[in-house]
Amino acid sequence: MNTRAIAVPFRRRFHSSRLAQIGLLFAVWLASEGFVRVVHIPIPSGIIGMFIVYILLAWGKVSPLSLRRGAQWYLGEMLLFFIPAVPAVTAHPEFFGLLGLKILAVIFLGTLSVMSATAMTVDLFYRWRVRHE
Protein backbone atom coordinates (compact mmCIF):
# COMPACT_ATOMS: atom_id res chain seq x y z
CA MET A 1 0.00 0.00 0.00
CA ASN A 2 2.88 2.30 0.77
CA THR A 3 4.69 1.61 -2.49
CA ARG A 4 1.50 2.45 -4.35
CA ALA A 5 1.17 5.76 -2.52
CA ILE A 6 4.62 6.68 -3.79
CA ALA A 7 4.50 5.04 -7.23
CA VAL A 8 1.29 6.61 -8.54
CA PRO A 9 2.22 10.30 -8.10
CA PHE A 10 5.74 9.49 -9.29
CA ARG A 11 4.39 7.94 -12.47
CA ARG A 12 2.12 10.91 -13.07
CA ARG A 13 4.99 13.34 -12.70
CA PHE A 14 7.22 11.23 -14.92
CA HIS A 15 4.59 11.19 -17.68
CA SER A 16 4.49 14.97 -17.72
CA SER A 17 8.22 15.64 -17.32
CA ARG A 18 10.07 16.05 -20.58
CA LEU A 19 13.41 16.36 -18.81
CA ALA A 20 13.03 13.10 -16.87
CA GLN A 21 12.11 11.29 -20.09
CA ILE A 22 15.13 12.68 -21.91
CA GLY A 23 17.16 11.46 -18.94
CA LEU A 24 15.69 7.98 -19.39
CA LEU A 25 16.65 7.99 -23.10
CA PHE A 26 20.17 8.99 -22.05
CA ALA A 27 20.34 6.20 -19.48
CA VAL A 28 19.32 3.60 -22.08
CA TRP A 29 21.86 5.00 -24.54
CA LEU A 30 24.69 4.93 -21.97
CA ALA A 31 23.79 1.36 -21.00
CA SER A 32 23.86 0.22 -24.65
CA GLU A 33 27.12 2.12 -25.22
CA GLY A 34 28.64 0.13 -22.35
CA PHE A 35 27.15 -3.10 -23.69
CA VAL A 36 28.63 -2.50 -27.16
CA ARG A 37 32.09 -1.81 -25.66
CA VAL A 38 32.04 -4.98 -23.54
CA VAL A 39 30.59 -7.36 -26.13
CA HIS A 40 32.36 -5.87 -29.23
CA ILE A 41 29.50 -6.13 -31.68
CA PRO A 42 29.66 -3.91 -34.78
CA ILE A 43 26.16 -2.43 -34.26
CA PRO A 44 25.85 1.26 -33.28
CA SER A 45 24.82 1.67 -29.63
CA GLY A 46 21.91 3.96 -30.59
CA ILE A 47 20.32 1.11 -32.52
CA ILE A 48 20.80 -1.36 -29.66
CA GLY A 49 19.16 1.20 -27.36
CA MET A 50 16.30 1.60 -29.81
CA PHE A 51 15.66 -2.16 -29.76
CA ILE A 52 15.77 -2.23 -25.96
CA VAL A 53 13.20 0.59 -25.73
CA TYR A 54 10.99 -1.03 -28.39
CA ILE A 55 11.00 -4.35 -26.53
CA LEU A 56 10.21 -2.63 -23.21
CA LEU A 57 7.27 -0.88 -24.91
CA ALA A 58 6.05 -4.02 -26.68
CA TRP A 59 6.15 -6.11 -23.50
CA GLY A 60 4.25 -3.43 -21.63
CA LYS A 61 7.09 -2.90 -19.14
CA VAL A 62 7.18 0.80 -20.02
CA SER A 63 4.18 2.88 -21.02
CA PRO A 64 4.59 4.98 -24.20
CA LEU A 65 3.50 7.91 -22.01
CA SER A 66 6.76 7.60 -20.08
CA LEU A 67 8.75 8.44 -23.21
CA ARG A 68 6.49 10.25 -25.66
CA ARG A 69 7.22 13.82 -24.60
CA GLY A 70 10.96 13.29 -24.33
CA ALA A 71 11.16 11.48 -27.67
CA GLN A 72 9.05 14.11 -29.42
CA TRP A 73 11.26 16.91 -28.17
CA TYR A 74 14.43 15.07 -29.07
CA LEU A 75 13.35 14.17 -32.59
CA GLY A 76 11.89 17.63 -33.16
CA GLU A 77 15.20 19.32 -32.28
CA MET A 78 17.41 16.71 -33.96
CA LEU A 79 18.66 19.23 -36.52
CA LEU A 80 20.61 21.09 -33.83
CA PHE A 81 22.71 18.03 -33.12
CA PHE A 82 24.21 17.66 -36.56
CA ILE A 83 24.77 21.32 -37.40
CA PRO A 84 28.35 21.16 -36.00
CA ALA A 85 29.19 18.51 -38.62
CA VAL A 86 28.32 20.74 -41.57
CA PRO A 87 31.09 23.41 -41.36
CA ALA A 88 33.43 20.50 -42.20
CA VAL A 89 33.19 21.82 -45.78
CA THR A 90 35.31 24.81 -44.75
CA ALA A 91 38.21 22.40 -44.23
CA HIS A 92 37.91 21.39 -47.91
CA PRO A 93 38.56 24.43 -50.12
CA GLU A 94 38.40 22.15 -53.18
CA PHE A 95 34.59 21.95 -52.76
CA PHE A 96 34.17 25.64 -53.54
CA GLY A 97 34.54 25.10 -57.28
CA LEU A 98 33.84 22.61 -60.04
CA LEU A 99 33.97 19.62 -57.68
CA GLY A 100 31.29 21.21 -55.50
CA LEU A 101 29.03 21.68 -58.52
CA LYS A 102 29.57 18.07 -59.56
CA ILE A 103 28.64 16.86 -56.08
CA LEU A 104 25.50 19.01 -56.15
CA ALA A 105 24.61 17.48 -59.53
CA VAL A 106 25.06 13.94 -58.16
CA ILE A 107 22.88 14.72 -55.15
CA PHE A 108 20.21 16.44 -57.25
CA LEU A 109 19.92 13.66 -59.83
CA GLY A 110 20.23 10.94 -57.18
CA THR A 111 17.48 12.43 -55.01
CA LEU A 112 15.20 12.82 -58.03
CA SER A 113 15.74 9.14 -58.91
CA VAL A 114 15.18 7.88 -55.35
CA MET A 115 11.96 9.86 -55.05
CA SER A 116 10.57 8.54 -58.34
CA ALA A 117 11.60 4.93 -57.68
CA THR A 118 10.17 4.84 -54.14
CA ALA A 119 6.93 6.61 -54.94
CA MET A 120 6.20 4.61 -58.10
CA THR A 121 6.96 1.28 -56.40
CA VAL A 122 4.67 1.95 -53.45
CA ASP A 123 1.95 3.30 -55.73
CA LEU A 124 2.07 0.27 -58.05
CA PHE A 125 1.70 -2.07 -55.05
CA TYR A 126 -1.11 0.09 -53.73
CA ARG A 127 -3.04 0.01 -57.03
CA TRP A 128 -2.56 -3.73 -57.31
CA ARG A 129 -3.92 -4.20 -53.79
CA VAL A 130 -6.92 -1.95 -54.38
CA ARG A 131 -7.79 -3.93 -57.53
CA HIS A 132 -7.58 -7.28 -55.69
CA GLU A 133 -9.52 -6.36 -52.57
Binding site: L25, V28, W29, P42, P44, S45, G46, I47, G49, M50, F51, I52, Y54, L57, P64, L67, R68, A71, Y74, L75, L79, L80, F81, F82, I83, P84, A85, V86, P87, A88, V89, T90, A91, L99, K102, I103, L104, A105, V106, I107, F108, L109, G110, T111, L112, S113, V114, M115, S116, A117, T118, A119, M120, T121, V122, D123, F125, Y126, R127, R129
Partner: protein
Protein backbone atom coordinates in the same frame (compact mmCIF):
# COMPACT_ATOMS: atom_id res chain seq x y z
CA UNK B 1 44.58 36.74 -15.99
CA UNK B 2 45.05 39.00 -18.98
CA UNK B 3 42.19 39.54 -21.35
CA UNK B 4 43.54 37.86 -24.48
CA UNK B 5 44.37 34.66 -22.60
CA UNK B 6 40.87 34.60 -21.18
CA UNK B 7 39.14 34.84 -24.57
CA UNK B 8 41.33 32.21 -26.20
CA UNK B 9 41.19 29.67 -23.39
CA UNK B 10 39.60 26.38 -24.58
CA UNK B 11 36.78 26.42 -22.02
CA UNK B 12 35.62 29.90 -23.01
CA UNK B 13 35.92 29.02 -26.71
CA UNK B 14 33.87 25.86 -26.25
CA UNK B 15 31.13 27.81 -24.48
CA UNK B 16 31.23 30.61 -27.03
CA UNK B 17 30.92 28.39 -30.11
CA UNK B 18 28.25 26.21 -28.50
CA UNK B 19 26.20 29.23 -27.45
CA UNK B 20 26.59 30.74 -30.93
CA UNK B 21 25.49 27.54 -32.68
CA UNK B 22 22.49 26.96 -30.42
CA UNK B 23 21.57 30.65 -30.54
CA UNK B 24 21.62 30.80 -34.36
CA UNK B 25 19.53 27.64 -34.50
CA UNK B 26 16.88 29.10 -32.17
CA UNK B 27 16.76 32.42 -34.04
CA UNK B 28 16.46 30.77 -37.47
CA UNK B 29 13.70 28.49 -36.20
CA UNK B 30 11.75 31.50 -34.98
CA UNK B 31 12.31 33.35 -38.28
CA UNK B 32 11.06 30.34 -40.28
CA UNK B 33 7.98 29.96 -38.10
CA UNK B 34 7.19 33.63 -38.62
CA UNK B 35 7.75 34.00 -42.39
CA UNK B 36 8.12 30.43 -43.68
CA UNK B 37 10.07 31.11 -46.91
CA UNK B 38 11.78 27.98 -48.28
CA UNK B 39 15.28 29.50 -48.00
CA UNK B 40 14.65 30.22 -44.32
CA UNK B 41 14.34 26.47 -43.63
CA UNK B 42 16.38 25.89 -40.45
CA UNK B 43 18.01 22.89 -42.13
CA UNK B 44 19.43 25.13 -44.87
CA UNK B 45 19.89 28.51 -43.24
CA UNK B 46 21.44 27.56 -39.87
CA UNK B 47 24.39 25.61 -41.30
CA UNK B 48 24.98 28.38 -43.88
CA UNK B 49 25.12 31.03 -41.15
CA UNK B 50 27.44 28.92 -38.99
CA UNK B 51 29.72 28.34 -42.00
CA UNK B 52 29.63 32.10 -42.64
CA UNK B 53 30.74 32.91 -39.09
CA UNK B 54 33.45 30.22 -39.08
CA UNK B 55 34.82 31.52 -42.41
CA UNK B 56 34.56 35.19 -41.43
CA UNK B 57 36.54 34.67 -38.22
CA UNK B 58 39.11 32.43 -39.97
CA UNK B 59 38.58 29.66 -37.44
CA UNK B 60 39.94 26.23 -38.45
CA UNK B 61 37.15 23.63 -38.54
CA UNK B 62 39.11 21.50 -36.01
CA UNK B 63 38.75 24.25 -33.38
CA UNK B 64 35.06 24.71 -34.08
CA UNK B 65 34.50 20.95 -33.95
CA UNK B 66 36.43 20.55 -30.69
CA UNK B 67 34.12 23.13 -29.11
CA UNK B 68 30.79 21.86 -30.43
CA UNK B 69 31.39 18.15 -31.10
CA UNK B 70 29.48 17.24 -27.94
CA UNK B 71 26.28 18.18 -29.80
CA UNK B 72 26.99 15.49 -32.41
CA UNK B 73 27.47 12.91 -29.65
CA UNK B 74 23.91 13.68 -28.56
CA UNK B 75 22.64 12.11 -31.82
CA UNK B 76 23.13 8.73 -30.07
CA UNK B 77 20.21 9.14 -27.65
CA UNK B 78 18.20 10.59 -30.57
CA UNK B 79 18.45 7.21 -32.29
CA UNK B 80 17.10 5.58 -29.12
CA UNK B 81 14.15 7.99 -29.22
CA UNK B 82 13.12 6.65 -32.66
CA UNK B 83 11.73 3.56 -30.88
CA UNK B 84 8.71 5.52 -29.66
CA UNK B 85 7.28 6.59 -33.08
CA UNK B 86 7.96 3.11 -34.49
CA UNK B 87 6.02 1.57 -31.63
CA UNK B 88 3.16 4.01 -32.06
CA UNK B 89 2.97 3.36 -35.82
CA UNK B 90 3.14 -0.43 -35.56
CA UNK B 91 -0.44 -0.70 -36.90
CA UNK B 92 0.68 0.96 -40.13
CA UNK B 93 3.56 -1.51 -40.48
CA UNK B 94 1.31 -4.51 -39.87
CA UNK B 95 -1.20 -3.34 -42.44
CA UNK B 96 1.05 -2.17 -45.26
CA UNK B 97 4.37 -3.93 -44.73
CA UNK B 98 4.62 -5.49 -48.23
CA UNK B 99 4.39 -2.19 -50.08
CA UNK B 100 6.38 -0.22 -47.53
CA UNK B 101 9.11 -2.86 -47.65
CA UNK B 102 9.13 -2.85 -51.44
CA UNK B 103 9.34 0.94 -51.51
CA UNK B 104 12.22 0.93 -49.04
CA UNK B 105 14.18 -1.65 -51.00
CA UNK B 106 13.57 0.16 -54.30
CA UNK B 107 14.56 3.49 -52.74
CA UNK B 108 17.72 2.18 -51.09
CA UNK B 109 18.86 0.32 -54.18
CA UNK B 110 18.24 3.41 -56.32
CA UNK B 111 20.04 5.66 -53.85
CA UNK B 112 23.16 3.50 -53.84
CA UNK B 113 23.21 2.71 -57.56
CA UNK B 114 22.50 6.25 -58.78
CA UNK B 115 24.97 7.89 -56.35
CA UNK B 116 27.67 5.50 -57.46
CA UNK B 117 26.81 5.81 -61.17
CA UNK B 118 26.43 9.61 -61.33
CA UNK B 119 29.57 10.10 -59.23
CA UNK B 120 31.57 7.80 -61.51
CA UNK B 121 30.20 9.57 -64.61
CA UNK B 122 31.41 12.92 -63.28
CA UNK B 123 34.79 11.54 -62.28
CA UNK B 124 34.30 11.47 -58.49
CA UNK B 125 35.90 8.45 -56.87
CA UNK B 126 37.60 7.13 -53.75
CA UNK B 127 36.27 7.90 -50.30
CA UNK B 128 34.29 10.89 -51.60
CA UNK B 129 32.19 8.62 -53.81
CA UNK B 130 31.65 6.28 -50.85
CA UNK B 131 30.65 9.23 -48.65
CA UNK B 132 27.91 10.08 -51.17
CA UNK B 133 26.18 6.68 -50.88
CA UNK B 134 24.34 7.05 -47.53
CA UNK B 135 23.10 10.61 -48.14
CA UNK B 136 19.38 9.75 -48.36
CA UNK B 137 19.15 8.47 -44.80
CA UNK B 138 18.92 10.25 -41.47
CA UNK B 139 22.19 11.67 -40.07
CA UNK B 140 22.82 9.34 -37.09
CA UNK B 141 22.41 6.32 -39.37
CA UNK B 142 24.24 7.89 -42.29
CA UNK B 143 27.35 8.76 -40.28
CA UNK B 144 27.56 5.19 -38.95
CA UNK B 145 27.11 3.77 -42.42
CA UNK B 146 29.74 6.10 -43.91
CA UNK B 147 32.32 4.82 -41.42
CA UNK B 148 31.43 1.20 -42.17
CA UNK B 149 31.75 1.42 -45.93
CA UNK B 150 34.93 3.50 -45.88
CA UNK B 151 33.60 7.00 -46.50
CA UNK B 152 34.16 10.09 -44.38
CA UNK B 153 31.47 10.66 -41.75
CA UNK B 154 31.68 14.46 -41.67
CA UNK B 155 31.46 14.71 -45.48
CA UNK B 156 28.42 12.44 -45.40
CA UNK B 157 26.80 14.74 -42.82
CA UNK B 158 27.13 17.61 -45.29
CA UNK B 159 25.65 15.58 -48.16
CA UNK B 160 22.78 14.44 -45.94
CA UNK B 161 21.90 18.06 -45.20
CA UNK B 162 22.03 19.06 -48.90
CA UNK B 163 19.87 16.04 -49.79
CA UNK B 164 17.30 17.01 -47.18
CA UNK B 165 17.04 20.57 -48.47
CA UNK B 166 16.84 19.52 -52.15
CA UNK B 167 14.45 16.68 -51.33
CA UNK B 168 11.91 18.79 -49.51
CA UNK B 169 11.97 21.44 -52.25
CA UNK B 170 11.71 18.81 -55.03
CA UNK B 171 8.96 17.05 -53.08
CA UNK B 172 6.66 19.96 -53.72
CA UNK B 173 6.97 19.50 -57.51
CA UNK B 174 7.13 15.71 -57.52
CA UNK B 175 3.74 15.36 -55.83
CA UNK B 176 2.14 17.26 -58.70
CA UNK B 177 4.29 15.68 -61.46
CA UNK B 178 3.97 11.98 -60.58
CA UNK B 179 0.58 10.28 -60.96
CA UNK B 180 0.41 9.14 -57.32
CA UNK B 181 -2.89 7.78 -56.04
CA UNK B 182 -2.10 7.16 -52.37
CA UNK B 183 -0.97 9.14 -49.35
CA UNK B 184 1.21 6.11 -48.67
CA UNK B 185 3.35 6.65 -51.77
CA UNK B 186 3.71 10.40 -51.21
CA UNK B 187 4.86 9.79 -47.63
CA UNK B 188 7.21 6.99 -48.66
CA UNK B 189 8.75 9.17 -51.36
CA UNK B 190 9.62 11.95 -48.90
CA UNK B 191 10.69 9.76 -45.98
CA UNK B 192 12.92 7.41 -47.98
CA UNK B 193 14.53 10.08 -50.19
CA UNK B 194 14.87 13.04 -47.82
CA UNK B 195 14.83 11.81 -44.19
CA UNK B 196 13.74 14.34 -41.54
CA UNK B 197 13.45 17.29 -43.93
CA UNK B 198 11.23 15.22 -46.21
CA UNK B 199 9.19 14.07 -43.23
CA UNK B 200 8.56 17.68 -42.24
CA UNK B 201 7.35 18.39 -45.79
CA UNK B 202 5.18 15.26 -45.66
CA UNK B 203 3.52 16.53 -42.48
CA UNK B 204 2.58 19.66 -44.45
CA UNK B 205 0.85 17.45 -47.06
CA UNK B 206 -1.17 15.46 -44.53
CA UNK B 207 -1.12 13.41 -41.32
CA UNK B 208 -0.98 10.03 -43.07
CA UNK B 209 1.83 11.20 -45.37
CA UNK B 210 3.70 12.47 -42.31
CA UNK B 211 3.39 9.25 -40.32
CA UNK B 212 4.44 7.09 -43.25
CA UNK B 213 7.42 9.34 -43.99
CA UNK B 214 8.57 9.40 -40.35
CA UNK B 215 8.29 5.66 -40.03
CA UNK B 216 10.06 4.87 -43.30
CA UNK B 217 12.84 7.34 -42.63
CA UNK B 218 13.75 5.32 -39.52
CA UNK B 219 13.26 1.88 -41.07
CA UNK B 220 15.26 2.73 -44.18
CA UNK B 221 18.04 4.10 -41.96
CA UNK B 222 18.15 0.83 -40.03
CA UNK B 223 18.07 -1.22 -43.22
CA UNK B 224 21.08 0.72 -44.53
CA UNK B 225 23.06 0.46 -41.31
CA UNK B 226 22.53 -3.29 -41.15
CA UNK B 227 23.42 -3.65 -44.81
CA UNK B 228 26.60 -1.65 -44.26
CA UNK B 229 27.50 -3.61 -41.12
CA UNK B 230 27.24 -6.87 -43.03
CA UNK B 231 29.22 -5.35 -45.92
CA UNK B 232 31.94 -4.16 -43.52
CA UNK B 233 32.13 -7.58 -41.83
CA UNK B 234 32.46 -9.41 -45.16
CA UNK B 235 35.04 -7.05 -46.63
Amino acid sequence: MNEVAFWTSPAVQACGWSVMTIGLYLVVKRVYRRWGRWWQMPLALTPLLVIGVVLALHVPYRDYYNSTGWLIVLLGPATVAFAVPIYEQRGLIRRYWPMLGAGMLAGTATAIVTSWAFASLLGIDGSLRLSLLPRSISTPFAMNMARDIGGTADMTAVFVVITGVLGSILGEFMVTLLPLRSALSRGAMLGVAAHAAGTAKAHELGTEEGSVAGLLMILVGMLNVFGATIFAALR
